[in-house]
């Protein structure tokens, strides 16, 4: 029972980080209708930037803020350099640009920082676990979860209550109509990529604190795709629920199934689960079902 609860809690906390990265995915999809396949690499870049800043001796909180600022700059640059010409082009080409971007980011990050595993030194979070009742929680997970909750609330509020959030939703609905109503689509794209960079950067920094930092972070960023699809591509609550569900699923598999099915089943299970799940709900939990007409 205790093992079960522990796994559950760890799953929820890791799931929180997944939810954060999933949110970056959903924001870009909501604004531009593009599936951003470079999300894993955005996570990687964020993680490396914060590690690099931390290794120069800056406190971690400041590092995260600087990562956010660098993320915003990178988001604007990405939009200006790579995506600006593609406004109004078929969606397939925009998605493929994100594939190209993922190559570019991965190659650049690995070229600059090398393939060996990096750790945050000295450790950012204390090593002793926090005891809550009979549960013991590793501080990394605990603090990550708090940060993630705060960010999630901020982002949801941004979409619901600000003018920018509204113009983003308008662009997602119909790019041409939004343009004719005076919404700057370029600005919306830049903003959505910046938000994606921010969420991925924070998520990456936290993930790097848990597992150490190497190319696998990009893979972890990709594990988030099942979470996004599970919740439905254009649903923010869906991303949060999906992230947590995938986190729990992954940890449960890690605890219970690994003895029966050895090997890397832990990271594969979300994909297997999603393939079966999609047969029953092809648009995820809360994704919009578009009625297709000829």
């Amino acid at each position: 029972m205790e093992l079960f609860l522990m796994t559950l809690v760890t799953g929820i906390m890791v799931g929180g980080i997944y939810a954060l990265i999933a949110l970056g995915w959903v924001v870009i999809y909501k604004c531009s209708g593009v599936l951003n396949l470079a999300m894993g690499e955005l996570t990687l870049i964020g993680a490396y930037v914060s590690w690099w800043l931390y290794s120069t001796g800056i406190p971690f909180v400041v590092c995260v803020f600087l990562t956010i600022i660098i993320g915003i700059i990178l988001g604007i640059l990405t939009e200006r350099i790579f995506l600006d010409r593609l406004i109004g082009q078929p969606l397939l080409s925009v998605i493929m640009v994100t594939v190209g971007l993922s190559f570019f980011f991965r190659g650049t990050a690995m070229f600059i920082w090398g393939p060996s595993t990096k750790t945050f030194h000295p450790p950012v979070f204390p090593q002793e676990s926090i005891h809550v009742g009979m549960l013991s929680i590793t501080p990394v997970f605990f603090w990550s979860f708090l940060v993630v909750i705060g960010l999630l609330i901020a982002l949801v509020a941004f979409f619901k209550y600000t003018r920018w959030g509204l113009s983003m939703q308008a662009t997602a609905d119909d790019e041409t109509a939004a343009l004719s109503l005076g919404v700057s689509v370029r600005f919306v794209y830049a903003a959505s990529w910046s938000i994606a960079f921010i969420t991925a950067g924070i998520g990456g920094a936290l993930l790097a604190n848990i597992n150490g930092l190497n190319i696998n972070i990009a893979h972890l960023g990709l594990v988030v795709l099942p979470a996004v699809i599970f919740g439905g591509l254009n649903s923010i609550p869906g991303a949060i629920v999906g992230g947590i569900v995938i986190g729990i699923l992954e940890n449960m598999t890690g605890t219970y199934l690994t003895q029966i099915v050895p090997g890397g089943i832990k990271t594969i299970v979300p994909f297997i689960f999603l393939v079966i799940f999609m047969m029953f709900r092809p648009h995820g939990l809360w994704g919009w079902v578009r009625i297709e007409r000829v």
Binding site: L92, F104, R106, V294
Partner: protein
């Protein structure tokens, strides 16, 4: 309008002729010349290393053809095609090394060719399994299924289970005389190249012919608008699965070919990067054209080679550059893909068509 540009005074008088392979004698001559260059010119004239490079081009093109069929002709975006190449490669390896072949077949050198056929069929069926969700899942949601195909096949089944058959750690060693066709053992540079050329030509012919049939037209109708296609009486699900089968089978044959060109089979030969690379190849080559896949593959491999040649002299001043060359290459190709999509969205095939047109119409521009 005919499919190809016809010289002044040539007119087709039947639809069959309009769809013909060789519409004018000049085209026939050009194609025979190309065949001669591919089968005789390259192995006789180029040095061994570059023949090997051409083999890699062909291998990439074989994989890219399947992706072209799925993305370019049926608009099923696939980001996991490397998995089916891996399935073909492993099926062939396992059959050649572990299957109790009758002595007669081994002596005649039929074991490997038969394994190529079986690998193609098996990879096709494997691909159909992952195509099954198309019955309900569409668009971006479907991309996840193809990514799942990659991770389930390569990272789980092949890495964790198949690679460990016989207690080996990771890679399966392939003896140099394992791949044997008739009396010839596939070793050196030229023999794998010739095998590649034959397989690639067969594949191109199969694809081009399929696209001229009812099935091919159904695929293109689904690509343009699947709802409209289904109202016209096309069984969308069946045709999508058929596309998956054909594309998977081609990937399987490509993978089975890889057995003859490598000395050890390892899951690391088929990372997710390979699947993304194949998509990149057809983007560079041009979506929706067969020669686009080949042009893209040639571009990708040759640029990689030239990049390597350009970087090697730098090593004296900056030794680090060689160690991280693969990363540099990855980043560079990412930039190339982005640049192509921004500045040449129709790919090399379109540029090729423009050049051809220019010379066809010369000296007038219309």
């Amino acid at each position: 309008m005919s499919r190809v540009w016809l010289p002044c005074g040539h007119y087709h008088q039947s639809y069959a002729k309009d769809q013909g392979w060789w519409q004018t004698p000049v085209i026939k001559l050009k194609m025979l010349l190309l065949l001669g260059i591919v089968l005789l010119g390259v192995p006789l004239l180029l040095p061994g290393y570059w023949v090997g490079v051409c083999t890699i081009i062909g291998y990439t093109a074989m994989g890219a053809l399947g992706v072209q069929l799925l993305i370019g002709y049926t608009e099923l975006i696939t980001l996991g095609h490397g998995a089916f190449i891996a399935v073909g490669a492993y099926t062939s390896t396992m059959l050649v090394l572990h299957f109790p072949w009758p002595e007669v077949l081994v002596d005649l050198g039929l074991a490997y060719p038969l394994s190529i056929v079986v690998a193609g069929l098996f990879a096709g069926i494997w691909s159909v399994i992952f195509g099954l969700p198309t019955i309900r899942v569409k668009g971006f949601y479907f991309i996840l299924t193809t990514i799942a195909a990659q991770f389930i096949t390569v990272d789980l089944i092949l890495t964790q289970y198949v690679s460990k058959i016989g207690g080996r750690a990771q890679s399966i060693k392939i003896p140099s005389d394992a791949a044997k066709i008739g009396p010839w053992t596939m070793s050196g540079d030229v023999k794998p190249y010739l095998l590649m050329a034959v397989l690639l030509i067969l594949m191109v012919m199969v694809t081009a012919n399929l696209l001229r049939t009812k099935r091919g037209r159904a695929w293109m109708a689904i690509r343009d608008n699947d709802v409209a296609a289904s109202t016209m009486g096309i069984n969308v699900f069946y045709h999508k699965l058929l596309a998956f089968f054909v594309a998977g089978a081609m990937a399987g044959v490509a993978g089975a070919f890889w057995v003859s060109n490598t000395s050890a089979m390892s899951p690391e030969h088929f990372p997710w990067f390979l699947s993304l690379k194949l998509v990149g190849v057809i983007l560079i080559g041009g979506i929706g054209s067969i020669h686009g896949a080949i042009l893209g593959a040639a571009f990708w491999v040759l640029v990689g080679e030239f990049l390597q040649m350009g970087v090697l002299p730098l090593a004296d001043y900056w030794p680090n550059v060689l160690m991280s060359f693969t990363f540099l290459k990855t980043a560079f190709f990412g930039l190339i893909i982005c640049a192509f999509l921004n500045f040449e969205p129709h790919g090399l095939a379109y540029r090729w068509w423009q050049i051809k047109n220019y010379f066809n119409l010369w000296p007038f521009s219309y």
